[in-house]
């Protein structure tokens, strides 16, 4: 029993940190976030070269074939760096969906494109009612084979604006339908939905008899979505952990140097105890996030409860750590110039993404109470 990263995993993680510190410091984050679709092609290429975009997939598709624990370690660093762009949408979401539900041919084409860094992708699930989940999906699929067409609209699609293809959840003749749409497909319209997170964007997607490729239907589609929900949430909480850790560090550093009343403010218990509460939340989420990844890797029955435990906790803790961080900084924390609000914006978007705290608590309740 050893609940810590192995040396190799630690190495992977620290080289990711070094890479991101060099290639994506906060000045670069701020530059990228001001672009119309926050994503940097050069940075993406470099990440792909190091295998990040294929981290979870088999070598057959240009992947590294690593597990969720390694992915979580990488995501933690991305969250710490506040990396802008569609990594979450492309790899643990679209990639995992394809990997789980796609046939060999689809994987050879599309999953390889993700692994090689050639394509970015997005997954369109939510609709006007904004609910997370696929039970209520109304966007319809008609025809079949080469004649498959999609009709309807999606909302809150993470990073669709920089995606080269989309995986769309639809309802067709054979029930739940998972279809792949190329960005250039006719009748496809992607419009930004301006949101609070400036480093990662949301879009609405309209399909007007848009040609699509069938990926899966019925139970296979459902199983794939469930698996994606599991892995994407595990990736997201690790990313949130990294952000929280960084907010903690920035705040403790500030508390040590900022002086008022002739003392560093970190000497006042009001500030000090807030810092202690932040550590508690960071360490608690660290336990939950890595266990969720571990449970997935080992196919444990508890995986689902572990993921919902981590996401429900992370949703509140990241925001709360952000609250404390801003409060500790006082006026300085309220400025645009401080990086805290960029993390805070990410915290709010992440809180909502892939099911909020209440949603995940209800999942836990179904698993452990009913």
């Amino acid at each position: 029993m050893r609940f810590e990263l192995s040396d190799t995993q630690q190495l992977l993680k620290s080289s990711a940190r070094k890479f991101l510190q060099k290639e994506c410091p906060m000045a670069e984050v701020r530059r990228i976030m001001e672009t119309p679709a926050p994503y940097d092609a050069n940075l993406w290429r470099q990440m792909a070269e190091q295998g990040w975009t294929g981290i979870l997939f088999a070598e057959d598709y240009g992947g590294m074939g690593l597990g969720m624990v390694e992915t979580a370690a990488m995501m933690e660093e991305m969250g710490r760096a506040l990396l802008p762009g569609p990594f979450l949408a492309t790899v643990p979401m679209a990639g995992v969906l394809l990997d789980t539900a796609g046939n060999e041919e689809l994987k050879k084409i599309y999953l390889s494109r993700i692994g090689s860094g050639e394509s970015r992708a997005a997954v369109a699930v939510q609709e006007e009612d904004a609910a997370w989940g696929w039970q209520q999906v109304q966007l319809s699929a008609s025809g079949g084979g080469d004649a498959l067409r999609l009709h309807g609209s999606k909302r809150f699609v993470q990073d669709a604006g920089v995606a080269d293809f989309l995986l769309v959840v639809a309802r067709g003749g054979r029930g739940l339908t998972l279809a792949l749409v190329e960005r250039a497909a006719e009748g496809l319209s992607v419009q930004p939905m301006a949101g609070i997170d400036l480093t990662r964007r949301l879009y609405s997607v309209q399909c007007n008899a848009t040609p699509a490729v069938l990926v899966a239907t019925g139970e296979a589609a459902e199983r794939a979505l469930e698996r994606m929900s599991l892995l994407a949430n595990a990736a997201l909480v690790a990313e949130m952990l990294g952000g929280m850790q960084r907010v903690l560090e920035i705040s403790v550093e500030y508390a040590k140097t900022r002086k008022q009343f002739g003392k560093p403010i970190g000497q006042f218990q009001a500030i000090q105890h807030k810092c202690a509460d932040m550590v508690l939340m960071v360490e608690a989420l660290r336990s939950a996030a890595y266990y969720a990844a571990y449970a997935i890797d080992h196919g444990l029955e508890e995986a689902q409860a572990a993921v919902s435990t981590a996401k429900s906790y992370a949703s509140e803790a990241y925001r709360e750590v952000g609250n404390h961080g801003i409060q500790i900084h006082g006026g300085m924390g309220f400025t645009w110039e401080s990086d805290l609000h960029l993390y805070y914006r990410r915290a709010k978007a992440s809180e909502i993404l892939l099911g909020d705290a209440a949603w995940h608590r209800e999942q836990i309740a179904r698993l452990v109470l009913d």
Binding site: S204, Q327, T335, I352
Partner: protein
């Protein structure tokens, strides 16, 4: 039944409110409001609220509780509270010179010379002279008395050098009510002076201070050998701390006066949203968890309103706001943050959409409010400072810092 606590208005107060309502009804408020809604930039909104203020002034409703001889209405503090509530209830545009009317004016009335009152008060009410306030500095936030902006005596002048931050309206103000250090040798609270500075003086430079919402409500103001006539000292030289404390008490007490009306309006707005926003396949208002949280918000708004009334009763009797203002400040600032979180939970993914997004509920005010309210527990004295004040001055516990 014995004569009890009485929450109804006196005949005089009712008359006051009636008069105000009549004037508001005749003021074409509807179009003022509509026009305000169309203004997008800070500058446009300010310009509009300035014409509104001139209108209010001409109607005789600016400076309700100020003495008549300086252009005020000579009303009671209770009537002033009624005024603030009615204006909020009518959703009238804000008065442009809010710092002048709410903070500087009362301080000049309390501590100024007859000449200063005559010179400055009318311009505040008419809006001809816009005011800002220069207290905080980069190194002096919660520890306000640590400020270092200096004013060196030079004959009939003071020469001011330094750097102020978080100055609201700095970009448009004609005058700045400043706290400066006039004696570097004295104990830190004892060497401060309250000085009124013409913002058009040579050596004053203003820079916008961008806040986390992306707006620039505030500015930084730099002073480089700015010459200020000694006649512009308010109160005595080196007695600025006492003067400033009086301002801060006013700030905490008036800031919240009409807030409960704003809170109630936002609450109703959220409740309306809850009829259509879906939660677990039903309108959010039917969700038992959301219901509990909304009910809690309702209760807290009510409690805030009532506690405000109790504070008003006290101020009305004593004439000066006390440290209890800090309790109200803690309450409303932390309530408002809780409320924004409840809104965000009710609205779900829609909560994060900003004004640029056509799908954003209520023009993106919820995403904005979520960020903006973070400032509530920092501005006008952090929650930590308010708790220090309550502990020290309400409970008599020893100073903790």
């Amino acid at each position: 039944m014995m004569p009890s606590l009485d929450l109804t208005l006196t005949a005089q107060q009712q008359k006051f409110r009636e008069d105000l309502r009549q004037w508001l009804a005749s003021s074409g408020l509807e179009s003022w409001r509509a026009e305000m809604a169309r203004k997008k930039t800070l500058e446009e909104r300010f310009a509009h609220s300035l014409t509104w203020q001139k209108n209010v002034f001409e109607g005789g409703w600016a400076g309700v509780a100020w003495p008549k001889e300086y252009g005020g209405r000579g009303a009671t503090l209770m009537e002033q509270a009624i005024f603030l509530e009615e204006m909020a209830r009518a959703q009238a545009p804000p008065l442009a010179n809010v710092i002048g009317i709410g903070l500087v004016g009362p301080t000049i009335i309390a501590c100024g010379t007859e000449e200063q009152k005559k010179r400055f008060l009318p311009g505040i009410l008419s809006g001809n002279e816009i005011w800002c306030q220069g207290f905080s500095e980069p190194g002096a936030g919660s520890d306000l008395a640590a400020l270092t902006t200096s004013a060196r005596r030079d004959g009939d002048y003071f020469v001011v050098n330094g750097h102020k931050v978080w100055t609201s309206f700095g970009w448009v103000a004609d005058w700045n009510a400043m706290l400066v250090r006039t004696d570097a040798e004295a104990a830190k609270h004892k060497g401060l002076t309250y000085l009124l500075i013409d913002m058009k003086s040579p050596g004053v430079k203003v820079r916008p201070l961008r806040q986390m919402t992306g707006e620039s409500e505030f500015t930084e103001v730099f002073f480089d050998d700015v010459r200020v006539p000694a006649a512009n000292v308010l109160g005595d030289v080196n007695d600025g701390w006492r003067v400033a404390i009086s301002t801060l008490m006013h700030e905490r007490n008036t800031l919240g006066a009409s807030l409960h009306i704003t809170f109630a309006r936002q609450f109703r707005q959220l409740v309306e949203r809850g009829r259509t926003v879906m939660k677990n396949g039903k309108p959010a208002l039917e969700d038992p968890v959301i219901r509990q949280k909304l009910a809690q918000c309702y209760a807290e708004i009510e409690i805030f309103r009532l506690t405000q009334m109790r504070a008003l009763t006290r101020v009305d009797k004593s004439g000066v706001p006390g440290p209890e203002g800090s309790i109200l400040k803690m309450f409303w600032s932390e309530y408002n943050q809780r409320f924004q979180q409840v809104a965000s939970e009710l609205l779900g993914p829609y909560a994060q959409l900003t004004e640029e997004c056509p799908d954003a509920p209520d023009g993106g005010q919820w995403a904005y409010g979520f960020l903006r309210t973070r400032g509530n527990t920092i501005e006008a004295g952090t929650s930590e400072i308010q708790r220090n004040i309550v502990a020290q001055f309400v409970l008599g516990l020893p100073k903790s810092y």
